[in-house]
Every structure is written in structure tokens, then in C-alpha cells.
């Protein structure tokens, strides 16, 4: 109990220390996708999020009376980091997203949060090792189907043979039907370049969703399993399908994990193209725009590798949306929002789709399972399927190297 109190005190100290330094310049608002998509109240923007939790602590009224309201405020954030970049570049350098996560942890520790649907996600993570509540034993089913048609050379780690590279699939590409194809595509690309790679026999969630929802204990538990399995398997590097797992491995995992080279698959395949291990040769005569996943771009500054892969494909015309790279507009799926319905006036994915359509592009390429889902839904809901489609970069690359 004493330890938990100390932990809460540390978290509260962080918020109080930074909250008072926020000068309410409000420069963060015009960078914030949440504010753009909501009704226009200031609590739906970065400084408003921070001041809400700061004052709840400063005036000591964080309790059941404001529970639902503060949950709605803190869990609406996409954690895209646009505000952090804006504040760093032109203001007081407040780490708003870290503080939002601090606030969420406080709510969890005080048994005030998260909301019902997010609690269910945490329950699923705890029970099944994935946020969708799917059976753990079915995690590799997507691979079995692929094996029926292809001879695959992957190793099952850590118990099987040694491998140089661990392909970490992540939960969404393991279980969600649309995204399983991305996992298969990446495996086929690895096969084409005769990579020495393996997949965890008992992969579970990297823990990132648990941390994002404020459940630090569960994050520690899940991440420890992945950490130990990866190190035990003796691989030299880890390649991820999702930018969210990538971010977690690179920034949230302990120091001991740093001896492994962590790459998102776009970085990995770009390196392989440069080395000549993969050669995109088949023409794809399409106009393509790239939607930067926030956890790849803004949070980890990987902007060039995905674009470089697209540019290497013969016949492709790469065009940029109005908001791109560091100014890229979030699809709305981050921060735990994939699991709940956020009441938006204009859906962020629809705003992003409008930006893509304005370029005259035929394909929105992306490199994140959640962005893929968000954009695909936006196209369907707005009835734009005749004009535009979503492709993962791995799918485009496979089409070109085949």
C-alpha cells in the first residue's frame, strides 16, 4: 500500500510540476487532431486536458463526482504527439502526452478509471494476452493458412532453432481478418529474400495498450513475457508489423532490450532494398499518397523509409497530402480509441480521407494496422470505394517484387 501511495504521489508530482508551467498560450490547439474533430470546447485539446487533471489534483476534487467527466477528457486523446512537437518547437516544451498517460495511471490506481469498454480491453489483455479477447492458441492461425500454399522457412522461437531476426506480429495483424493479410505479406517478403527469421511460438501483446490505458502493472507483466522470450531466442534484431509495438520496444522496454536492434518493417525492408536483397521491379501505375502513422512518424521520426520504399516501386507517382510528415493528421485510432466509440463532430479518419482525395490519389498507403482499419472504414462509410483504396506498404512491395 505504501508503495502504491508513493507511486501515485510521484505521478501527481509530475502533473503538478508541469501543469503549473503550462502558460495557457494555447498554441497546441491548432496542432491537435482531437480539437479539430470535436465541438470546440477547450477541454478537448492538449492544454485543456492537462489543466483538467492538474486542477483536479491542485483543488483536490478528483473523485467519484467527476469520474466520468475526467475519464472522457483523458481517454479522448489520440496520443499522437502533435501537441508535444508544437509545444517543444514554439512554447514551453510540456510533455503533454506523457502527462495524459500519467493522469490515466492515476485514475487506474485510484480505481476511478478507465471506462467500461477500456476495462474490458484490460480484462482481455490479462486473460488472453491480446486486447480483442481472442483465444491465445489461435494467434498463429493466419500462418497455418499461408503454410498450406507455401513452403515457409521461419523458426518458432525461442524453443526451436536459432534465428537472426524476430518478426513480432502484434495483436491486430494476428487476429483481425483484414490485417492478417499484412502479416502474411511480410512473411512472404522475408521468404523471398531468404531471411533467417523466426516468430514467437507463444507471442502475446507487447503491453503497449495496457500502458496507454493506464494499467502499468499489466504492461509490466505482458512486456516481461515478450522481453524474456525475445532475449531467450538469441535473435539480433526485432522487426515489428505495428508502429505501436515498435514504439513500445524502443521507448518503453527496459534497457536490457536495447541490445536488440528494433526496426519497423518499413525500415527493415528499405535496408534490404538498398542491400539488393529485394528488388521492386514490377510496375504499379498508380498515384499513391502515404499516411504517416503517428507512432512511426511523430513519435519516432521515421518519415523517410516508407516513402523511399514507395518511390522505389516503378511506375508509382508519390503525392503528399496537405498535412504530412511532422504535420501529419492522426487517423484517430491511437491512445486506446480503437477500442471505443469517441463522439466526434467530424471523424478524424474522414478528415484525413478528404485530404487524400484532394491529392487525386488512387491509393492511401500506410504502415500501421490501426491506420489501415481507420482509413478503410472511412472509405467504406463515405462510399468512396470507387475512387480510392487503402494498401499497406508491404502489400505494394510484394506486388512489385513478385
Amino acid at each position: 500500500m505504501e508503495e502504491q501511495d508513493k507511486w501515485i504521489e510521484t505521478l501527481e508530482g509530475e502533473i503538478k510540476e508541469w501543469g503549473i508551467k503550462c502558460i495557457n498560450c494555447n498554441f497546441c490547439y491548432t496542432a491537435c487532431p482531437l480539437f479539430q474533430s470535436m465541438k470546440g470546447f477547450l477541454i478537448n485539446g492538449p492544454s485543456g486536458l492537462l489543466q483538467s487533471i492538474y486542477y483536479a489534483l491542485h483543488w483536490d476534487f478528483l473523485g467519484k463526482e467527476v469520474k466520468d467527466e475526467i475519464i472522457n477528457i483523458l481517454y479522448s486523446c489520440t496520443t499522437c504527439s502533435s501537441c508535444v512537437i508544437r509545444c517543444r518547437d514554439v512554447s514551453a516544451g510540456i510533455p503533454v502526452v506523457d502527462l495524459v498517460e500519467c493522469g490515466r495511471k492515476i485514475l487506474v490506481e485510484k480505481a476511478l478509471g478507465p471506462g467500461t469498454l477500456h476495462k474490458e480491453v484490460l480484462e482481455f489483455l490479462f486473460q488472453s494476452g491480446n486486447p480483442y479477447g481472442k483465444p491465445a492458441e489461435k494467434r498463429l492461425d493466419w500462418l497455418k493458412e499461408l503454410e498450406k500454399e507455401n513452403k515457409l522457412t521461419y523458426k518458432l522461437l525461442p524453443d526451436g532453432d536459432k534465428a537472426e531476426t524476430l518478426l513480432y506480429i502484434g495483436c491486430t495483424a494476428s487476429y483481425e481478418e483484414d490485417l492478417q493479410n499484412v502479416a502474411r505479406t511480410i512473411v512472404l517478403l522475408l521468404e523471398k529474400m531468404k531471411a533467417d527469421y523466426g516468430i514467437l511460438k507463444k507471442e502475446n501483446c507487447c503491453g503497449h495498450p495496457a500502458r496507454q490505458l493506464g494499467e502499468e502493472g499489466l504492461f509490466m507483466e505482458l512486456s516481461e513475457k515478450v522481453h524474456d522470450a525475445a532475449l531467450k531466442s538469441g535473435v539480433k534484431q526485432v522487426v515489428t508489423v505495428s508502429p505501436h509495438c515498435y514504439h513500445s520496444f524502443k521507448t518503453e522496454y527496459p534497457e536490457s532490450f536495447k541490445k536488440l536492434k528494433v526496426q519497423h518493417y518499413t525500415e527493415y525492408f528499405f535496408d534490404q532494398i538498398e542491400k539488393g536483397a529485394l528488388t521492386p521491379s514490377k510496375k504499379i501505375k498508380k498515384t499513391i499518397t502515404f499516411h504517416d502513422p503517428c507512432y512511426l512518424g511523430k513519435r519516432n521520426e521515421v518519415y523517410d523509409a516508407p516513402r523511399a520504399i514507395i518511390s522505389k516501386i516503378p511506375g508509382v507517382k508519390l503525392v503528399e497530402m496537405k498535412d504530412n510528415k511532422v504535420n501529419s493528421l492522426c487517423c484517430g485510432g491511437g491512445g486506446g480509441r480503437m477500442y471505443v466509440e469517441v463522439e466526434e463532430v467530424t471523424r478524424l479518419s474522414h478528415l484525413r480521407l478528404e485530404q487524400a482525395l484532394a491529392t487525386g490519389t488512387e491509393i492511401i498507403a500506410t504502415a500501421c494496422p490501426w491506420c489501415y482499419t481507420q482509413m478503410k472504414d472511412a472509405i467504406k462509410v463515405t462510399d468512396q470505394e470507387d475512387r480510392i483504396e487503402v494498401k499497406d506498404i508491404s502489400e505494394l512491395l510484394l506486388m512489385s517484387v513478385s
Binding site: 485543456g48 489543466q51 477528457i73 509545444c87 514554439v90 516544451g93
Partner: protein, 473 residues
């Protein structure tokens, strides 16, 4: 009637006007709408009753008619970035937040554009630039500052008036809602401002106390070309003489000339990853319709500054470097706070041309003899081309609210003495709230009483932004 019942009635009325989605009684929203950049907390006992997001002038009209009848205070906020406390409500009432009033119409055939109160400075600038026009409104808080707020303030901000005038010089008309609820249109649909009485002037630079500006009509100004330069001096006196020389030798006045003292420059430059300059810096932007002429103007300016023996004076053609230098200046306040891990107190002093060297020296010694502040470093920066400076102080974050208030009062008292001595006034942040005592000191009690009568004529029940004219928040 109980307080709760009355508040419920107010909320129901507001919901009836704008719909329940655009009215909130969220305690968190009320707190956020009570804050500005000043380093003391919101007033727990005087939070707003509700925050409302109107869409149209008609919405505001209905709200004000009701508030006037019921004598409910109404505060109007564009973005809350005003720096003399005027956007901080000091009593419980309705907060009107203009974020939904985002109409923007460029009428090229008519030679003007019309901006809704909620349009952001940067949005307007970008939309105009797409059509080849320049926005003569360049605010430090460009990312978020609203058109309505900027109009009420008539702020020059970074712009140098002898070069381009004030925003009000380009504003042809406004649509305003009076505190009693009537909607009026002032000015003209022509391209020239009215001679004689122009009601526009009551609202442009009216400190937001006489009406709510819901739409601003502004003359279209063709895009201009820029040319950039930087000079670095070892002594402040050299800079002062150089700027004065610029006016006396009739060199084309640049659109911007900014100043960072040695300490501020070091923090700003290093924050942007540049090597700290060896002295105090000024940087300027010459302009003209033609790039060639703008470049020539830069050379002329450089020649003037070189007469005062700078460490260096050079044109800047590397736009990446320029962008960094400009951001180092534009974000001085947050960079100082970030670097020094404290809270900010800042004011605005303005010199006159005749005694500029003396004025600049006094601005550098601004805190001399001021209790507590004299023990702190005065970080000096500002719009030196307009002869204005911002003495700034970083206060330890653990100082209590009461002490912060006290220091803020001392600061504004000193600002009032300075500007009164030099016969000037603030050119960026309005004239009341924290500056009410200055107004009386500078213009006399008779002028202030007259202002109160004007306010009472427009707003007989003193419901619109009450407290701004009365002073201090």
C-alpha cells in the same frame, strides 16, 4: 430563487439558443476558460456558470439580450491569449467562446475580405496567401489568436506602424453585437474608410467593452516580397543609435525589426540548435512589392547599422536559418520559462524617438529599485523597430498566488511610470485591465470618467466583459 435553480434556467436558455451540444457546465471547461498566461490560478469561487459556443451573430444577440435583461455578466473569449488579463473572467457569468464562428470570405471583386470572429490569425494568413494577398496582422500568438480578439485589440504586435500602420487602418467595417443585443454594421463596403464619424472605431481597439465584434471586413492587400538581415552589437547604445538613425536618415522602414538582448538571444538560439550570438541581436525584414527593391532596402539598412560598428551586420538568404532566428524571437517567453523552469511576468514599455537611447537604457534597467524584481534578471526583448520592449522576469514556480499578484501589480505600476514618462502607451495589449491605473496616470481622471460614461451608454447594465474597465484581474 436558489443559485442552482437560477443557473439551471440560464443553461436551459442557452441550450435553447445554440442547442445542448454547444453549452457546457463542465467544471473543467469552466476552469480552462478562466485562465490566461498569468501565473496565478483560476478563482475557484468565481468560475463561469456556463460556457457557450455560438455559431452566428444572431446567437450572440439572443444571449446578450437575455443577459442584459437578467443582468448576467458575459465574457467573450477568442483564444484567451490577451496579455493584460482582459480575457480572464473575474466574476461568475456566461463565457461566450467564439471558436465556431469561422466564416471567411474573400471578395476580390469588392477589394476586401470578411472574417468571422473565430478565424485564427494563421488560418486567415494562409487563406489570403493562397490568393496572393498579405494579411497586415502578425501576432505572436498567430497559431491560435482569433480575428475577433485581434480586432478588439487593434494590436500591432510584431508589425512596425510607421511601415504598414495598424490593423485598424485596413479595417473597413465590423459587424458588432451591442451589449443590449442589437446587431449593427459599421463602416463601408467601399475600399476606403469613412471620413468623419466612423462607428468602426468604437470596436476596433475598443478593448471589447462596447460590443462583440462578430465579423471584420478588411481591405485586401497585395502580397509583398521580403528581404532579411541580422546585426549583432556588443553594446545596447549602439543598437539604439542605429534604430534612431534608421528613422532620421529616412531609410525605408522595415516591416519588422526585432531585438533580443544577449541573455535572451543565448537561450533562444541554443533552443533552436544554433550557436549563441556574441552580443545583443536585432533582425529585420525589409519589404516591397518587388523583391529587388526589398533587397535594396536591406542593403540601405545594413549601411545605416554599420555606422554604429556592429560585431556583424549581414543579409540572410538561408531561410532555414531565418526560420530558426524568427522562432527564437517569437517563442522567447516559453523558451525562457522552459529553460529557467519558472513562471513568467512580462510587460510592454514603449519609448519615443527623440529620447530613444535613454529609453532603451531605462528599459534595460527596468527593475532597478522595484522590490523583489530588482533581484531577478531582466530578460529584455521586443519590437525595437517600433521602439517597444518587453522586460520579462522568470519567477520561481513555488511562489504563491498572492505573491504573484503583488509582483504583477508592481510590474504594471512600473510599466505605467515608464510609459507615462516617455509619453507613450502600449501598442499591443490594450489599455485597461492591468493598465487601468496607467490610463488614469497618462490621460487623467477626466478621460477615464468619460470612458466609463461611454461604456454605460453602450452597456447600461455593465454586463459585457465587466471588470476590464474597472481594472486588474
Amino acid at each position: 430563487m436558489t443559485t442552482d435553480k437560477r443557473e439551471n434556467e440560464i443553461v436551459s436558455f442557452l441550450e435553447g439558443i445554440v442547442g445542448p451540444d454547444y453549452v457546457t457546465t463542465s467544471r473543467f471547461e469552466k476552469i480552462k476558460q478562466s485562465l490566461d498566461a498569468y501565473p496565478y490560478h483560476a478563482d475557484m469561487n468565481n468560475l463561469p456558470i456556463a460556457v457557450v459556443l455560438p455559431k452566428t451573430s444572431q446567437d450572440i444577440s439572443e444571449i446578450l439580450k437575455y443577459a442584459n435583461k437578467e443582468k448576467i455578466p458575459v465574457y467573450v473569449r477568442g483564444s484567451g491569449t490577451q496579455l493584460i488579463g482582459a480575457s480572464r473572467p473575474d466574476r461568475s457569468g456566461i463565457v461566450i467562446f467564439t471558436s465556431r464562428m469561422k466564416t471567411f470570405d474573400i471578395k476580390e471583386d469588392w477589394g476586401y475580405f470578411e472574417a468571422g470572429a473565430g478565424i485564427r490569425n494563421q488560418e486567415a494568413k494562409d487563406l489570403l496567401a493562397e490568393r496572393g494577398y498579405f494579411l497586415p496582422l502578425v501576432i505572436g500568438a498567430k497559431h491560435i489568436a482569433s480575428f475577433g480578439g485581434a480586432t478588439c485589440n487593434n494590436t500591432s504586435a510584431h508589425l512596425i506602424e510607421p511601415a504598414v500602420g495598424k490593423p485598424g487602418d485596413y479595417i473597413l467595417a465590423v459587424e458588432a453585437v451591442l451589449p443590449t443585443g442589437e446587431i449593427i454594421e459599421t463602416g463601408t463596403r467601399g475600399i476606403g474608410k469613412p471620413a468623419g464619424t466612423d462607428m468602426t472605431k468604437y470596436f476596433v481597439g475598443g478593448d471589447g467593452i462596447l460590443g462583440v465584434v462578430t465579423k471584420t471586413r478588411m481591405r485586401l492587400v497585395p502580397q509583398i516580397q521580403y528581404s532579411y538581415g541580422i546585426a549583432c552589437f556588443s553594446e545596447l547604445a549602439g543598437i539604439a543609435r542605429g534604430v534612431k538613425r534608421m528613422y532620421l536618415e529616412q531609410v525605408p522602414v522595415p516591416i519588422f525589426t526585432e531585438f533580443l538582448d544577449r541573455n535572451v538571444a543565448e537561450i533562444g538560439y541554443t533552443n533552436k540548435g544554433m550557436e549563441a550570438p556574441p552580443g545583443h541581436v536585432i533582425f529585420f525584414v525589409s519589404y516591397d512589392r518587388e523583391k529587388e527593391t526589398a533587397d535594396k532596402n536591406t542593403v540601405k539598412l545594413m549601411d545605416v547599422y554599420k555606422k554604429e560598428k556592429p560585431i556583424y551586420a549581414e543579409p540572410v538568404t538561408d531561410m532555414v536559418r531565418w526560420e530558426k532566428v524568427w522562432t527564437a524571437r517569437e517563442s522567447t517567453i516559453p523558451f525562457l520559462m522552459n529553460k529557467l523552469q519558472g513562471r513568467l511576468l512580462v510587460c510592454e514599455v514603449v519609448c519615443n524617438l527623440a529620447t530613444f537611447e535613454e529609453g532603451m537604457e531605462e528599459a534595460a534597467d527596468f527593475n532597478k529599485g522595484v522590490p523583489y524584481l530588482e533581484d531577478l534578471t531582466n530578460y529584455l526583448f521586443g519590437h525595437i523597430g517600433a521602439l517597444s520592449f518587453h522586460p520579462s522576469f522568470i519567477i520561481p514556480p513555488d511562489l504563491g498566488d498572492e505573491r504573484m499578484w503583488e509582483l504583477s501589480r508592481l510590474l504594471y505600476k512600473r510599466e505605467a511610470e515608464f510609459n507615462t514618462k516617455y509619453g507613450t502607451c502600449g501598442r499591443e495589449w490594450g489599455q485597461f485591465s492591468k493598465r487601468k491605473d496607467f490610463f488614469i496616470m497618462r490621460y487623467g481622471q477626466t478621460s477615464y470618467d468619460l470612458m466609463k460614461k461611454i461604456k454605460a451608454t453602450f452597456d447600461p447594465n455593465n454586463i459585457l466583459n465587466p471588470g476590464v474597465l474597472e481594472g486588474y484581474r
